[in-house]
């Protein structure tokens, strides 16, 4: 067993220890918290890249925790699918970590920074655990770790609305957790195992059992809530809009994507295409709902008056794109879906960062207060325009590429109408992205030539600006060099469709 095989488990153990260290160090001096957190996240990100490269060349890494062989022991499995997701979420986590310092100082308050970084670290670790575990119950444990920390972090904004948002999410998240746990219990009842690979192996014999159908439905509903799949997205807008900026970014990029990852993993790797297409044909239904989500999310986003809330509803729409891929369920569409997991994380991360920076500088994210903001914050608004273009799907950004794959896949599967709706639906994104562009760039032509804006707002500090610009450029370059990304995404989709 070489060094690289131990890295997956270290990616969980070291950060858990680090979060304890943050707590202890913070007792001594609060200033230690941030560096420890940043270094840990960078370590995780570096490890994720190392694992990705290793998996690309050498194939799947399997690690039995504590030396207990599966199916009894807990197994960590990193294949070309989750190594890609792992790298994607940790990329965003690292970007958020850079961004977080100034934003947290201002929004959370110095006396709470210690607990903030402890929870922040635990949340990321929970997400990493969900991504790399090969054991379905272990997945649930990590899901709860990340969920509970997320509830607390949302409330850490300490505004009345954020308590309500946190509580709402707590209720719905717990319901989701309940469904998932019931699903897992049913699977265990049907097969007697909790190891995912083992489940995939044993389940086909029980495909006709009502227990298995029930398990499938419970898991679907549970993860649909967690992933905010329309119409189970009700917790999302408040949770995103009312949480501190750094938390919003982490929730909307890393956490949302991991929930979707878990759904993909369970549908394709535990139940396999044989079940979701033939035994319990659910893909057509998912495709329909996904298309509704794309349109409804975008329409709701257009109706918002607040920048963060608008972006939150946009996420509801964008989750629809990814689920669209799941509904079509062929190679090309799934490539588009996985591409969109990365692409949407990058661009939405950038957009929320800009929204956070605007709040940081101006203390508001009401669209009507942001007239002419591009004059005082030109770099962040340019980044918003670029990431926004990607959200709309203007070539050659990453957003265009994933849309292209999705439509191509849908046409290949003969879903002409859905392809048409997806294309037209993507135009709706213009409706909300362009609203901000108009207000920011061309908004101050009504006489008040923004004297007060100039005094109130200026371009953000470098530590916040750098990740914003980085992610905006990434949304362009990932699109231009999409072929390189497909080298990773292609095998990942093969894993999904191969079943194992």
């Amino acid at each position: 067993m070489t060094m690289i095989d131990h890295i997956p488990v270290l990616m969980i153990v070291i950060p858990i220890l680090a979060s304890l260290l943050i707590l202890l160090a913070g007792w001594y001096d609060r200033r230690f918290c941030y560096p420890i957190s940043l270094i840990t996240i960078l370590f995780q990100f570096g490890s994720a890249i190392a694992i990705l490269l290793h998996v690309m060349q050498e194939g799947t890494i399997r690690y039995s925790v504590g030396g207990w062989a599966p199916p009894l022991g807990i197994e960590l499995v990193v294949d070309s699918f989750n190594s890609y997701i792992l790298a994607a979420i940790l990329l965003l986590a690292a970007a958020t970590a850079f961004y977080a310092r100034r934003s947290v100082e201002k929004e959370i308050g110095p006396e709470k920074t210690v607990s903030f970084y402890v929870l922040f670290q635990l949340l990321i670790t929970g997400l990493v655990g969900m991504t790399i575990t090969g054991d379905i119950f272990n997945l649930y444990v990590f899901l709860e770790i990340s969920s509970i920390t997320a509830y607390t972090l949302i409330a850490s904004a300490r505004r009345p609305h954020s308590y309500v948002a946190s509580f709402n999410y707590l209720i719905l998240g717990s319901i989701a957790g309940g469904f998932i746990l019931l699903g897992i219990a049913n699977l265990y009842a049907a097969t007697g195992t909790l190891n995912m690979a083992d489940l995939a192996h044993l389940l086909p014999a029980s495909y006709e059992l009502a227990t298995v159908h029930a398990a499938f439905l419970f898991l679907m509903i549970g993860f649909s809530i967690k992933a905010a799949f329309f119409p189970l997205h009700l917790w999302l807008p408040d949770a995103y809009a009312e949480s501190p900026s750094a938390v919003t970014i982490l929730l909307s990029t890393a956490m949302a994507k991991v929930s979707i990852y878990a759904m993909f993993r369970i549908l394709f790797s535990v139940f396999t295409t044989a079940y979701i297409i033939d035994t319990f044909p659910v893909t057509g239904f998912i495709l329909f709902i996904a298309t509704v989500a794309i349109v409804a999310g975008a329409v709701l986003a257009i109706a918002q008056k607040d920048l963060k809330r608008m972006l939150a509803y946009s996420s509801v729409s964008q989750v629809g794109y990814i689920m669209f891929a799941l509904g079509v369920a062929n190679q090309i569409a799934l490539e588009g879906g996985l591409l969109h997991i990365l692409g949407h994380a990058v661009m939405k991360g950038c957009l929320f960062m800009v929204a956070g920076l605007i709040i940081y500088r101006m203390g508001t994210s009401r669209l009507s207060d942001l007239k002419g903001v591009a004059k005082t914050m030109p770099i962040s608004c340019a980044a918003f325009a670029l990431a926004g273009a990607s959200m709309i799907g203007i070539p050659p950004t990453i957003g265009f590429m994933s849309k292209y794959y999705l439509v191509l896949g849908a046409l290949e599967a003969g879903h002409w109408v859905y392809a048409a709706v997806l294309l037209l639906g993507s135009l709706l994104a213009v409706g909300y992205i362009w609203r901000f562009i108009e207000i920011a760039y061309f908004g101050d032509h009504h006489g008040d030539h923004g004297e007060d804006h100039q005094t109130r707002a200026r371009e953000g500090p470098l530590s916040m600006l750098a990740p914003i610009v980085g992610l905006a450029l990434l949304s362009l370059f990932l699109g231009v060099f999409v072929e390189a990304v497909m080298e990773v995404v292609g095998p990942a989709v093969s894993i999904l469709l191969g079943g194992a």
Partner: protein, 496 residues
Amino acid sequence: MADMNGVLPAVTIAIPLLASVLILIVGRHENIREAVTIVAATAMLGSVLAMLPEILSGGRITISLLPMVPGGDFALRVDAFGMVFALTATALWLLNSFYAIGYMRSLKEHAQTRFFFCFAVAIAAAVGIAFSENLLTLFIFYEILTIITYPLVVHVETPEAMKAGRKYLAYLLVGGISLLAAVILTYTLTGTTGFVPGGFLAGSGSALILQILFLLFMVGFVKAAWMPLHGWLPAAMVAPTPVSAFLHAVAVVTAGVFGIVRIAGWVYGMDLMASLGLGTFLAVIASFTIITASLFALTEDNLKRRLAYSTVSQLSYILLGVSMLSIAGMTAAMAHIPIHAFLKITLFFVAGAVIVSAGKEYISDMKGIGRKMPVTALMFSAAAIGICGLPPLSGIISKIYLALGAVEGGMPILLLVVITSAVLNAAYFFPIIYTMLLDRPDDEHSLDSVSEPPLVMLVPIILTATVSVLIFFFPSTPFMDLIEIALAEITGSVIP
């Protein structure tokens, strides 16, 4: 040299992109910023001219830049028809740059750095469209052109401009989606999107599907402003005049008609178009647009808006040429691209010069303005005569080929359309000429402060008008020669 030539298409597009970055960097220093624009425009024209000999000798320059998605690499290919567009666009961009500098400075317009930045990216996209090797690459440049021209259209930032901007985006982005659908559908049907002289769609799907596909392409190329999808073009007239010139002559509408000709000759092929009845479909749209837009033009008093409807009408000459599906018709279509561009840009330059020198936008206010601006008014008259199709200006060339195509194809009704339109053109242009040159101003002293525009604006006006005369006398250099090669390609009379 062969290697050198191989990268020239990419270099041509890279020059303005590089310039756009420089423009942002040196934005505060106006003179340096403008120098960047001029140097880039000159270099770009030079780079296009450097490729001309190879293309004129029947060669093509292909360069594959990046593998992309299934459906096409990001690849460029310079062929004779692409050269027609690229040459027109780059030559006019250089002149338009001088003109724009004079215009923007005279009117002390705001946000000039943004303006010149967008201009530079837009010309890169336009030449990218000309040099695209496949539909997907073309689509990418086409969308970039849409987005980057938006800030130009809404430049003045008045509520009216914002409204026009929304209209502009609504039409062009819906068009873009339609084009994307068409590109993907083409790929699904044939497994390729690369342009092939003579087309590659034949036999790939049922007649109905190919007809629907054509409709998608047509909606996609809404930049050709065919009626009833022309509304964005007159609305976009709120933009500063150099932008109008850019929209109407240099790049935007030209990109639309270029796309339609490309589709007809290099995706469908004339035989397939004929067997699907698409020629008739196109002829109906084109005839309707030509006549209706001319009638609209008659009623407009705002000079720029009248010119806009004139453009809508003139663009459909190109569609009419394509619809004939014959050598003569295609010749007319391709020739009308540079011919119309040089004539129309002259007219817009003059309209802008009148705004700068006299502050007048309405034709009824321009009485006797030719006394104070004789050269400008004369150039306007010349270009207007050209559009009407009278010698000694280039406009007559495409008219003759159109008439020839109509007669050859046994479609006298189309001949009637061409003649009617010529009469209508005269009906809406001659009153302007009369007003400018012959009419007396209502108040003799109202024009006292009016004079010719600054030289940076006047010289481009004279040059574009002169080119239009030169094309009449020397049609083959280089445009008709290029068109001949392009036609030989798509009709298969030489092996491509």
